[in-house]
């Protein structure tokens, strides 16, 4: 099959308490990609290879109940569980990223990527450098927040995006960055790609606009390549205008308002990026075919 004609392939993991896989898959389908939902064990046992896909996705939920801390058990499974060939899934993920492919985690998925050390991965050694812990409010909360995209971020997930409204639904979303060096490196390289803002669009540490008290008012991180991206809020929960709590008034004000939600733009971004990458990757090959 010609690579460019095939749809962008998103792999979405599920099982063991993950519970946002359906809307995650819907997001990719609405953005024009093909989404495959697969049980974690099929990947861990080597029945499904992540290398057959372009984007690897860790959805939200409560993996393994999160009783030892959000994302901890799943991160350890990825790091330590070996398949029949003696490889861990982390080995595969490193290779996957080195091949120029993309990894995304939302909420619990973001927690997994942070506990694993794939985010922010300043050292390149995939060891945990920051952590996510209990909200400053001490409680789980479901509420809508406003995000601002760091204009200096190099991540293709966020290209062309400026602000976004999305719901947060978590109890452990407070990003803690210990050490001024780590903090400085994250800021210098603009890895703090999303911040919580107030109604005026300025980053804020004021509750409830910043719902969890995160350092740098940070809602999401990327690694230095921009290929690995994670965030606490749920863009996959805002695929349609009608997910927004204020949809009815906004539609009254502007009957021609788009029926798409902010979250969908993020998925369109990455799908389009993978498509354009393929075209540039394939073109020289086609050229050589013509010349022979």
């Amino acid at each position: 099959m010609n690579d460019t004609s095939q749809k962008v392939q998103a792999l979405i993991l599920t099982g063991f308490g993950i519970n946002c896989e359906e809307e995650y898959a819907a997001a990719y389908r609405l953005a024009g990609a093909e989404a495959t939902i697969v049980h974690l064990n099929q990947v861990l046992h080597g029945h499904v290879s992540i290398h057959d896909y372009d984007i690897l996705n860790f959805p939200g939920g409560f993996s393994f109940g999160d009783d030892l801390g959000s994302g901890v058990v799943l991160a350890n499974k990825l790091r330590y569980r070996k398949n029949a060939e003696g490889r861990t899934l982390l080995d595969d993920i490193k290779e996957f990223v080195a091949n120029g492919k993309f990894v995304m985690g939302i909420c619990n998925g973001f927690q997994v990527l942070v506990k694993l050390g794939l985010l922010p991965n300043l050292s390149g050694n995939v060891t945990p450098e920051v952590t996510l812990t209990h909200n400053a409010s001490g409680r789980y909360e479901d509420r809508w927040v406003r995000l601002k995209v760091n204009p200096k971020s190099n991540s293709p997930f966020l290209k062309g995006l400026d602000t976004m409204e999305v719901p947060v639904r978590h109890g452990e979303g407070r990003l803690i960055i210990s050490g001024t060096d780590t903090l400085a490196h994250i800021e210098e390289q603009a890895l703090n790609c999303l911040s919580y803002t107030d109604f005026d669009g300025s980053p804020t540490d004021v509750y409830p606009h910043n719902p969890n008290g995160a350092d740098l008012n940070c809602a999401g991180l990327t690694d230095t390549t921009g290929q690995v991206f994670g965030l606490m809020p749920h863009p996959e929960a805002f695929l349609s205008l009608y997910n927004h709590p204020d949809w009815a008034r906004r539609k009254r004000l502007n009957p021609g308002l788009s029926e798409e939600g902010d979250g969908l733009r993020l998925f369109r971004n990455i799908v389009e990026h993978v498509q354009s990458q393929r075209q540039t990757a394939v073109s020289p090959q086609e050229a050589s075919q013509f010349s022979s």
Binding site: F16, N243, D246, R252
Partner: protein, 712 residues
């Protein structure tokens, strides 16, 4: 009801009171399956465990309806507690109402959030009489394909020789006698070990497995292990084939040392019993291994008419199926109704209605539920269209919730709950009728249409009724007013009959809890007779639903429906410590006519916002509608009833609706005398109510008045 619906081309009633949950048809491809149950006694002695088990247990009902494997769409819950600010002396073994409240809330948080099921709607009712036994109602809606691997999904079929598979968690001593203890009054000695502790993750694994296995045609039918454990689940399934052999030594245990009868009746959670064709066993077991769900073959179905229970070859029980299911003689009880002595009070003369409204907005039964609501995930799965709180501020309380079924179509379902125990002190008939109407009007408020209005409109409605009453069996010494209590139950049922017939809305499932009393130190606390009607209705296009908050300045505000001098049992009287006498009555014919008009008006998109009138009446509804964006309103009350009646009467079947200026003529023509023009939405964030030209009511900033005791 079914006959009436079918005669009009509406054949969407598929399963009624005959399985774990009722089922109605959404469209030719899918069924809506839903069930609401109570979990009261366990929540009284272990609030967290009781509530989480209530949620997870109720989730298993739609999951294990028909062949099984429905996808869960939403949870809803209604909670009745004692006053959380109670500062008196507790009875022996009685938990403080706040401890019960917090434990139950946490149980619902974990039960719903960790299962990935959004909690979209609910209610909290406070009354001192729930301080002994709280009421914890849990409801779950789900969607199931009409066909699973080529078979009708809602049918349960089992043949002799099919294997009995237990799937999910293991069996321990937890929950032994759970069902029997729930059916007696609680006292100092009630055992906490009778409460099962749910594990949402174990159940999530089993649920994911069930969804896949049923779609692959590996399961013939499934049922839930709830009350009574294996004894009840296999006892019920065995009626289909006509018998079963159970080999208890094969049942996997959490720890050794259980006696055979304990294994059989234990209510350890997260378990399903499945009927599986022998030829499908290998494939089923290998899927279980892949998904890390424990499956155990514990026997087989027969057709010899006996439930045959064995342990290591020895007979534990051998019961005739006919005796097992029909052997209990029917009870005959006595009921005697007498109308309570009640009179309308004389209230102190007041004209400070601003103060009254402020106090109402801060009262326990009206104040904001935001602190509770925010701790429940109400939008996982990305399909919730009307959430419990809406508007730019996220603070406008809504009526029914609306959830779409999938991402491919705009079809959805509206969900509401009606519960009005206060009115039962005056007349249980009107309490029951009012609760039913409250649930109906909440759905009508968001744009739902009554069923069966035209031929083949396909507009399903489905109701679960849940009666929770105190011990109503007369006994001269221990329960001298038993006959009156039973009469209240009879009157509640009569009202239910009248309401379903009037609106042509069918009941599809339900549950009763008959001994809601707590007895200790020689004192008995009994719940008031309570009924909850949980209602769902199909929404053709969720994009055309309506939220409660005001949308734009200069929109015209109307009252739809009629106000009567019906302050009996109202929150207004409660402020003065009075009950009154004039209980609100439902006038079914007039209500149905109004609801039909509203459906037509919505087809023409004439309504911009709509909020039902309930606790606190018109004044509270107006204030709540301003919370969404910070708009205000200027309202002039018409001549007629005294102003306090107009403001605070809780007459049923009424709404506050707003209309765009350009639609006013069409709107008024359509509703005629059923609509009363009240005023306009204003840009300043003030609510002003006037009468005969002079201001009656002008709270400083209505938004701030919501911080009552539960909004911390």
């Amino acid at each position: 009801m079914d006959r009436q619906l079918r005669a009009n081309g509406n054949d969407w009633l598929i399963k009624v009171f005959s399985d774990n949950a009722g089922a109605v048809r959404i469209n030719p491809e899918s069924l809506f399956v839903w069930k609401v149950e109570t979990h009261n006694s366990p929540s009284a002695i272990d609030p967290y465990g009781g509530a989480i088990t209530g949620i997870l247990g109720n989730n298993r009902d739609p999951l294990a309806t028909g062949i099984g494997g429905a996808r869960l769409l939403f949870n809803t819950n209604v909670l009745c507690f004692g006053n959380p600010e109670f500062n008196g002396t507790l009875l022996s073994n009685q938990l403080h109402p706040r401890r019960i409240f917090e434990g139950v809330r946490k149980g619902i948080e974990d039960g719903g959030n960790k299962s990935g099921v959004p909690t979209v709607n609910g209610a909290i009712v406070f009354d001192d009489r729930y301080a002994g036994k709280p009421l914890v109602y849990c409801g779950t809606g789900a969607v199931m394909p009409m066909q699973l691997a080529g078979l009708d999904s809602w049918e349960k079929k089992i043949d002799a020789q099919d294997r009995i598979i237990m799937a999910g968690g293991r069996v321990g001593k937890d929950g032994i006698h759970g069902a029997t203890f729930s059916s007696i009054e609680l006292d100092e000695t009630s055992p906490a070990t009778a409460v099962q502790i749910g594990s949402p993750i174990t159940q999530k694994l089993a649920m994911d497995f069930l969804v896949l296995a049923t779609r692959r045609g590996l399961i013939k039918c499934s049922t839930d292990n709830g009350a009574g454990g294996l004894s009840s689940s296999i006892g019920e399934l065995a009626t289909i084939s006509g018998g079963a052999v159970v080999e208890l030594e094969k049942v996997p245990l959490k720890y050794p040392g259980l006696r055979p009868w304990e294994i059989f009746v234990s209510e350890s959670q997260e378990r399903f019993s499945l009927a599986v064709e022998p030829a499908k066993m290998d494939e089923l077991l290998s899927l279980g291994r892949e998904m890390e769900v424990e499956l155990t073959d514990i026997g087989y179905f027969t057709a010899d008419g006996y439930l045959d229970v064995r342990f290591d070859g020895d007979s534990v029980a051998r019961l005739n199926m006919e005796f097992l299911h029909n052997g209990v003689p029917r009870k005959v009880l006595e009921a005697e109704w007498s109308k309570p002595q009640a009179a309308e009070p004389t209230l102190p003369a007041t004209s400070d209605y601003t103060d009254v409204l402020t106090r109402l907005l801060g009262s326990l039964n009206i104040c904001s539920r935001e602190s509770v609501i925010r701790q429940y995930d109400h939008e996982v799965k990305g399909r919730t269209i009307i959430k419990p709180l809406m508007g730019a501020t996220g603070q406008a309380p809504q009526d029914a919730a609306v959830v779409r079924f999938n991402f491919e179509s705009w079809e959805g379902v509206a969900v509401s709950n009606g519960i009005l125990p206060r009115f039962g002190d005056l007349d249980a008939y009107h309490m029951s009728a009012g609760a039913f109407d409250e649930a109906v009007r909440q759905i009508v408020a968001v744009g739902g249409k009554l069923p069966n209005l035209s031929y083949g409109d396909g507009n399903f409605w489905s109701v679960n009724d849940n009666f929770c009453v105190p011990d109503s069996v007369y006994d001269a010494t221990t329960n001298p007013d038993g006959k009156l209590k039973l009469a209240k139950l009879v009157r509640m049922c009569e009202a239910l009959r009248d309401a379903t017939a009037a609106y042509c809305i069918p009941l599809t499932s339900g549950k009763d809890s008959m001994k809601n009393d707590f007895k200790a130190d020689g004192v008995k606390i009994s719940v008031p007779p309570t009924v909850l009607y949980s209602m769902t209705a199909k929404i053709e296009d969720v994009r055309h639903t309506i939220t409660s908050d005001f949308k734009q300045a200069d929109d015209v505000i109307y009252l739809l429906g009629e106000t009567y001098d019906e302050l009996g049992g109202s929150e207004f009287y409660q402020l003065f410590g009075e009950l009154g006498a004039n209980v609100p009555e439902v006038r079914f014919d007039k209500a149905k006519e109004l609801y039909t008009l509203m459906g037509q008006a919505n087809d023409q998109h004439l309504i911009q916002s709509c909020h039902d009138l309930s606790d606190g009446g018109l004044a509270v509804a107006l204030a709540e509608a301003t919370f969404g964006h910070g708009y205000g309103a200027t309202v002039d009350l018409p001549e007629g009833l005294p102003v306090h009646v107009q403001l605070f009467s809780e007459s049923h079947s009424r709404f506050v609706a707003t209309v765009a200026p350009e639609d006013v003529v069409a709107f008024e023509q359509h509703f005629g005398t059923r609509a009363t023009r009240l005023g306009v939405v204003t840009l300043d964030s003030h609510l002003t109510v006037r009468h005969a030209g002079s201001p009656l009511l002008r709270p400083a900033r209505p938004c701030c008045a919501t911080s009552g005791p539960t909004a911390r």
